[in-house]
């Protein structure tokens, strides 16, 4: 990551305000969320990048954390509202991370984003993506693009291979390795052999004898008191599942082959959907339906005037498989990640909701956006400069004070430090007269001066 430059705080405020107004136009209400929550709330988002970077501490026997993001807290808030009304919320504030790889050692950063909770339609996906992307237009960033993936589609493709959920999870979590030329399929297979199939275990033969295993299971679990919250059926089912996995190696290889083919999709929408259409098996109605829904999302994005050349379709875009359940996306410009988000329909139930609540959201990496804003937009705030010398010091203070009372921003500068061509210079003499261009003003006609200055500023 390139070194961060110092960004004036008024620029931060400006961007924050612009994005806030932009999201308000879509009906998103600005909400405040706690800085400190229970650590568990954030840890439910498994697989996310924040886990190792959480600031945690203990109080009264409870593990607490500084928020590393807003989504979990927003979802938690919605759950507690116990409402069936959709919520459109935007948020803005500092988030906290302890990233050992971040040489700048900046522990907090500004995050701005939005959540749309309670609507499952593709329209909601399109709304959030366009909200996020078009928001960048409000900043001075012009070269943004959006990469869109789909976690559910990839799960469905994988499900076709007939693998159990455990193997599915394992493979999904290792998808980035599949695209890595140094690792690839053989690396994942090696990991599967080592950790899931236990090939290195010396008792493999004994373990795979189903009759013996069931006998053992029955011996141990009949009349057993210590079950640790699981029942016999559950243990037997999973044991059988583990046995099956050993026999399933050809299916695993087939699934990895299939995913490798999908890895090749990284194109603009038309080309990508054509390619994906050819990759979906003729009898795979479920994936076709997902693909159709995804295509409708893209059509809506076009209606939101997000042109195809700004879009890349990459189905395996990995943004936490354990957490996202549908469309996922990333915003980039000039090689920087400016934000991202996706659909997370299962989170609210995990946070205690009694029903399934669809949700989609995103967050900007505001520090990255600020880094990209061109320096020209850092122009000074418009204000009046009064050059001060020893003779006019008192008169300058009097004028500055009176103008500020009328809400005109004024700064006093030693006259030798005022650049000749600086704009908005008001000269004051020792007789308390002020001069602007060719006009002279006294304190009695300050209102006239104020009107002129307001026009200038």
């Amino acid at each position: 990551m390139p070194p961060m430059r110092s960004v004036p705080s008024r620029l931060v405020r400006q961007i924050t305000q612009d994005l806030h107004q932009h999201m308000a136009l879509y009906g998103y209400e600005l909400i405040e969320l706690p800085v400190i929550e229970t650590a568990d709330l954030f840890l439910i988002k498994a697989g996310d990048q924040v886990l190792g970077k959480l600031f945690t501490f203990e109080r009264h026997g409870q593990q607490l954390a500084l928020r590393p993001e807003f989504t979990a807290a927003a979802a938690h808030r919605y759950t507690r509202l116990n409402s069936s009304e959709p919520a459109r919320w935007q948020f803005c504030g500092q988030i906290f991370e302890d990233d050992p790889n971040d040489s700048s050692r900046s522990y907090q950063r500004l995050s701005i984003g939005a959540e749309l909770i309670g609507i499952s339609e593709v329209a909601a996906d399109a709304e959030i993506i366009s909200l996020a992307a078009r928001g960048l237009d409000r900043t001075a960033i012009r070269s943004w693009s959006v990469t869109i993936g789909h976690t559910r589609l990839m799960r469905q493709i994988l499900a076709r291979a007939g693998l159990d959920s455990r193997m599915e999870r394992f493979i999904l979590n290792h998808l980035p390795a599949l695209a890595d030329p140094l690792k690839g399929k053989s690396f994942i297979l090696e990991q599967i052999d080592r950790f899931l199939l236990g090939k290195s275990a010396s008792n493999q033969r004994e373990e795979t004898d189903p009759a013996r295993s069931l006998e053992t299971l029955s011996d141990i679990t009949v009349n057993a008191q210590t079950m640790g919250g699981r029942d016999h059926q559950e243990i037997a089912r999973r044991l059988a599942q583990k046995r099956r996995q050993v026999a399933e190696r050809p299916q695993i290889i087939h699934a990895l082959d299939e995913l490798e083919r999908w890895n090749a999709v990284n194109h603009p929408p038309d080309e990508a959907f054509k390619l994906m259409d050819s990759l979906v098996a003729p009898d795979d109605a479920v994936s076709r339906q997902t693909l159709a829904g995804w295509q409708r999302t893209i059509e809506l994005l076009r209606a939101y005037q997000i042109p195809d050349e700004r879009l890349t379709i990459r189905p395996n875009l990995a943004r936490s498989w354990a957490y996202y359940t549908g469309v996922v996306f990333e915003l980039t410009a000039d090689g920087r990640h400016l934000g991202g988000g996706g659909r997370y329909d299962e989170l609210l139930r995990l946070l205690g909701s009694q029903r399934d609540v669809p949700a989609v959201g995103f967050a900007y990496y505001a520090d990255q956006i600020l880094e990209l804003i061109p320096a020209t937009s850092h122009a000074d705030v418009r204000l009046i400069t009064i050059p001060v010398m020893s003779e006019n010091a008192v008169a300058s203070a009097v004028w500055a004070n009176r103008l500020r009372e009328q809400n005109v921003p004024v700064r006093l500068m030693p006259s030798e430090q005022v650049q000749e061509n600086a704009p908005f210079i008001l000269t004051v003499d020792n007789r308390q007269r002020a001069f602007l261009d060719d006009e002279t003003f006294t304190l009695s006609d300050i209102d006239r001066l104020v009107n002129i200055l307001r026009g200038l500023l």
Partner: protein, 336 residues
Amino acid sequence: MNNRLTLALPSKGAIAEPTLNFLRDCGLRVEKPNQRQYTGLMPAIPGISILFQRVNDVLYKVADGTVPVGITGLDVVQEHPHQDVLVIHDSLGYGHCSLVVAVPETWVDVDNLLDLADIALDFREYHRRTLRIATKYPTLTRQFFHSQGIQHFTLVNAEGAIEAAPTLGYADVIVDVTQTGTTLRENHLKVLSDGIIIESQACLVGNRRVLPDNPALLDSLRALLEYIDGALIGRNYYQLTVNIQGADAESVARKVAGNPLTQGLQGPTIAPIYGAVPAQPGSQWHTVTIVVTGKKLLEAVEYMRTIGGTQTVVTPVRYVFMEQSPTFARLLETLG
């Protein structure tokens, strides 16, 4: 400032008595004038006072600087990391135990942490709750589980018989210390094959802020470490006294030092014997004194026999004092 070095020792628990035994074996007998009081003396080093505390409190007292040094378990130190606590000696050689992840032995489908990660997700998906882990070690447990990619769990804070938690139903698995695993087995629990979080034993800790400021404390601590290092190093050695014939001391020395096993710490000590048993013509009886490592004792005895050694007397070494206490030298370096 108090110039006496207060050493906090565990008053009860698994390492309380072994600590007193360890110190006694180092030549540092602890006297407790009144059984009801929490203080004691160490006659071998008059500058040291003893304060008996619970094993966790030993660490807390050292951490807040109330006492400069103490003996506690490495597991306790790692569970409650504190910037001012310095581990002066991390392996006093007793109080060995492991902090382990144990699951019900009925979970025949669970052998390792990858299985447990899977079960944690199953709990979330099928039971709509998180895996519950009973432990007295929340910090180490949390760190370990997170490092293993297991995020979905709830820690159940428990004191007392944690092993019973899965049977009583308030936890699914446990994280606890075990020495032999017997208690776990008796409670129908098994340790995961890769479920050892840390290996622990008794250790000596000190406060890094308090120690450098007081030369008198450091002097008493140096004496303490001399005894401890001397005894711990000494445990590894035996002294052999062997009678052997040879033309002269030098030829005997050459034979003895011919094997690295019997070279001793510096070399053999050899002295002539003026005894009643006559030696072969041209030879004289010599007695050889060497120090050998305990692990190679028999090998050394065998070798001495091959070069004519007989009447080998072996005595344990009580102390080996090096040029200085290695632990104290390391401590000074750390304290700068």
